[in-house]
């Protein structure tokens, strides 16, 4: 095809007459932008200005709030404030630390309110294993559980980690003191010495999780509860 050099003259095809008369405009309305669109644009501009103003005005307050919150957490912003708030209300330092440890090690599965996870993780609130003699929960924390366990008429078949390596006697004592007194539980406190005693008695078996609730019942002679009607997990 022929190639003409580019010039300032229009090279449109067909009968275009536009550039003959700039103001000859047969197709165009006098105002090509519909007024509703202009109205919407105006409204958006007002909204945008207001949003910018209010958001920026609020920002310093937000920054200050963060500092306040950190200060309330005593310089150590614990990532589980609900549990800690509960415990600090009791003004018991030992329990409060137990609550913090509970938040770190236990609440992910057993939940901050001790209710467990339906069908998967047994509750600690109202569990007869938690409120039995202190040896039982100590032994559970040390060795973990791998086998079916019935808590509040529901059988759970999950796995609890073995924690004797992870947690010290003192940490276990603090956690259990908190758990045994939290929510509706009212069993007694646990001391570091009690944990040491149980730990010493289990030296050879520390790495073997308890094979479920029956093993615990047999070992610690927990009073058996009325058998549940079915072995199935209830919703």
């Amino acid at each position: 095809m022929t190639r003409t050099p580019k010039s300032d003259f229009p090279k449109d095809f067909g009968p275009a007459v536009r550039d003959v008369d700039e103001n000859f405009d047969p197709y165009e309305q006098s105002n090509p932008i519909p007024w509703p669109l202009l109205a919407i644009a105006g409204a958006l501009v007002i909204w945008g200005g207001a949003t910018l103003y209010f958001d920026l005005a609020a920002a310093p307050q937000g920054a200050a709030d963060q500092v306040t919150r950190t200060a309330q957490a005593n310089g150590t912003a614990t990532p589980a404030p609900t549990v800690e708030e509960l415990a600090s209300a009791k003004a018991d330092q030992f329990t409060a630390e137990g609550a913090a440890l509970f938040g770190d090690y236990c609440a992910t599965c057993h939940q901050p309110n001790g209710a467990g996870v339906r069908g998967a993780i047994p509750p600690l609130d109202g569990s007869r294993y938690v409120t039995a003699t202190s040896e039982v929960p100590i032994a559970i924390l040390l060795r973990g559980i791998a086998g079916p366990i019935e808590v509040k008429d529901v059988v759970y078949d999950g796995r609890m980690p073995t924690l004797h390596d992870t947690l010290s006697n003192d940490q276990i004592a603090r956690i259990l003191t908190y758990v045994r007194g939290a929510w509706s539980n009212s069993a007694g406190a646990v001391t570091s010495d009690q944990v040491q005693t149980v730990r010493a008695g289990l030296t050879d078996t520390l790495n073997q999780p308890w094979q479920g609730g029956s093993a615990l019942e047999a070992t610690f002679d927990i009073p058996s509860t009325p058998a549940s009607p079915t072995a199935e997990a209830k919703p």
Partner: protein, 535 residues
């Protein structure tokens, strides 16, 4: 500091508004030297009658665009590179959407196909994204541009050999990039996963394609630049800048890198894929229907307001995150301002096709493009609303955002690309599509499939967001409740992939020489052009 920055933000907003006011004034007062008659440029350049134009099934319409002297605008060389790009795009669509489907299935079959690292969800998802964005949409979009720009500018493509070389390099880079991600070699930023070393090759390929296109535009034989040209020229200047700046290694870190990340990622949508889609629709809708767009001067508002506002919305991906309040708020406000260009485009495009519904019913390619244009409006409205702080608190971090992303990248861009492929390929090879039935299968599977996909994931995502915000509900609930919706997404996604297979079969058949040619032509040119160009 706060005062200074607050002032700066107001400056940014004020400058954008001032530009908008000047633009509206200029349009209203006819300061811009063009008129509704310019909207007919696309008809005049081709010496092609106005009226319904469907070369996908009508062999009489399957003709090359030619000038007044009957010379085709697309040389065999240029046809070869276009078909190469469109064919490769189809390949990436099949591979990329298959990976997407696998990733979708993995979300409700978490133990499936986990034997080795390349098969894990995190890699499948990244390969899916990069293949459909840089492979399917970008390669396909450039392929369309290689056809559209010479056609609307009435001049052959310059440097077609350079374009072909660029196309080959770009496709190799896409393949290498996806393979690298699969092997675990990644830059680690969403939308920027392809390692920067491979990005160099991708950029070289990109320049190999853009230089011929820009040169073609510079040497155009038409005085007026049609609206499609604005969008494509804008995209061709924006994308290389974005891609190069965002991929410079080693200079960004932490939260600051996140601003670069989302400045890039959102602009790839707003200033690359969106112009590709909107620009194509501005050509394809009037071309297929055979009538000019509703108000040509209004399209100016759509283009420049898009450039002004869309370029500043990226940080709405970091609402509630660790970046200064002012930049987040700026992006929130500019996201809402996006209503202006979107409404302008909507008035122009929807008025045209909705007042020509018989054409809509008659032509499947037109249906793809019209629905795609409608999805642009929908995705943009939804995106603006999602940027509102109150809405964002619910939708951020959920599958709702994923549904929205697909509304834009699939419902809008991909549907328009489908329509574009169905229109352009027959005119390049001068034959209609061999299997009309498969076009209908493609249309219905992707439309129904995507509807299932979008509705299911949007509802699931919204419920997920509400559950996540409720302190009384365990977090696990927010994940568990999405499972049925994730299954719904996989069902919709399967239909979409099925549609893509139907599409690919047709493309393959077309490229291998099948399909009826125009009776009057009766020459072997078309077949030879396919096989690699006229001798």
């Amino acid at each position: 500091m706060t005062f200074t920055i607050g002032t700066l933000v107001l400056v940014s907003f004020a400058v954008s508004l001032a530009a908008l006011v000047v633009l509206i004034w200029a349009i209203s007062k006819s300061q811009m030297r063009f008129t509704q008659e310019d909207a007919r440029t696309i008809f005049r350049v081709e010496q092609r009658d106005e009226g319904l134009d469907d070369p996908s099934v009508n062999a009489d319409d399957a003709t090359q665009p030619t000038d007044a002297g009957g010379h085709a605008y697309h040389s065999p060389e240029s046809r070869r590179v276009i078909l190469f790009m469109l064919g490769m795009a189809t390949l990436w669509l099949i591979v990329g959407s298959t990976f997407g489907l696998i990733a979708s299935l993995k979300l409700h079959l978490p133990d499936w196909l986990n034997g080795s690292a390349p098969l894990t969800f995190g890699r499948m998802r990244a390969m899916h994204l990069n293949l459909v964005i840089y492979g399917w949409s970008s390669v396909g979009g450039i392929g369309l541009a290689l056809w559209l720009l010479p056609t609307i500018f009435a001049t052959p493509l310059r440097f077609p050999k350079l374009a072909l070389a660029g196309g080959i390099i770009m496709n190799l880079a896409v393949a290498c990039g996806a393979a690298a991600i699969g092997m675990g070699w990644t830059d680690g930023l969403e939308w920027l996963e392809i390692p920067w070393q491979i990005d160099i090759a991708l950029a070289i390929g990109l320049f190999g394609l853009l230089i011929p296109l820009l040169n073609t535009a510079y040497h155009r034989e038409v005085h007026h630049i049609y609206v499609t040209g604005w969008y494509y020229l804008g995209a061709m200047i924006w994308f290389p800048i974005l891609f190069l700046v965002a991929n410079i290694p080693g200079i960004n870190v932490g939260a600051q890198q996140a601003t670069v990340n989302w400045w890039f990622a959102h602009n790839v949508l707003g200033l690359w894929l969106t112009p590709i889609g909107v620009g194509a629709a501005y050509y394809l809708l009037p071309r297929m229907i055979g009538k000019p767009i509703y108000s040509y001067r209004l399209s100016l508002l759509g283009f420049w307001a898009l450039a002004l506002f869309y370029s500043q919305v990226g940080i709405h991906h970091l609402i509630g995150g660790p970046v200064p309040t002012w930049v987040v708020t700026l992006s929130v406000v500019q996201s809402i301002m996006m209503f202006i260009p979107v409404i302008a485009v909507a008035i122009n495009q929807h008025t045209l096709w909705m007042s020509n519904l018989p054409a809509f019913r008659a032509s499947v390619p037109l249906r793809f493009v019209a629905i795609g244009a409608l999805m642009y409006t929908a995705a943009s409205f939804q995106g603006s609303l999602e940027a509102l702080r109150s809405v964002n608190s619910v939708t951020h971090f959920t599958h709702y955002t994923v549904a929205h992303a697909h509304l834009g990248a699939y419902g809008f861009v991909s549907l328009i690309l489908f329509g574009g492929f169905y229109y352009v390929v027959p005119r390049l090879v001068e034959r209609v599509w061999p299997m009309t039935m498969l076009i209908h299968v493609h249309f219905w599977t992707v439309v129904v499939g995507f509807a299932i996909y979008f509705v299911s994931l949007s509802i699931g995502g919204w419920l997920q967001g509400l559950a996540m915000l409720d302190p009384a509900r365990d977090w696990m609930e927010s994940m568990e409740l999405t499972k049925p919706y994730l299954i719904g997404r996989s069902i919709g996604g399967s239909l979409m992939v099925l549609g893509h297979v139907a599409f690919a079969i047709n493309v393959l058949a077309m490229l291998s020489g099948r399909g009826a040619a125009r009776v009057a032509v009766l020459d072997p040119t078309a077949a030879t052009a396919l096989a690699g160009g006229r001798k």
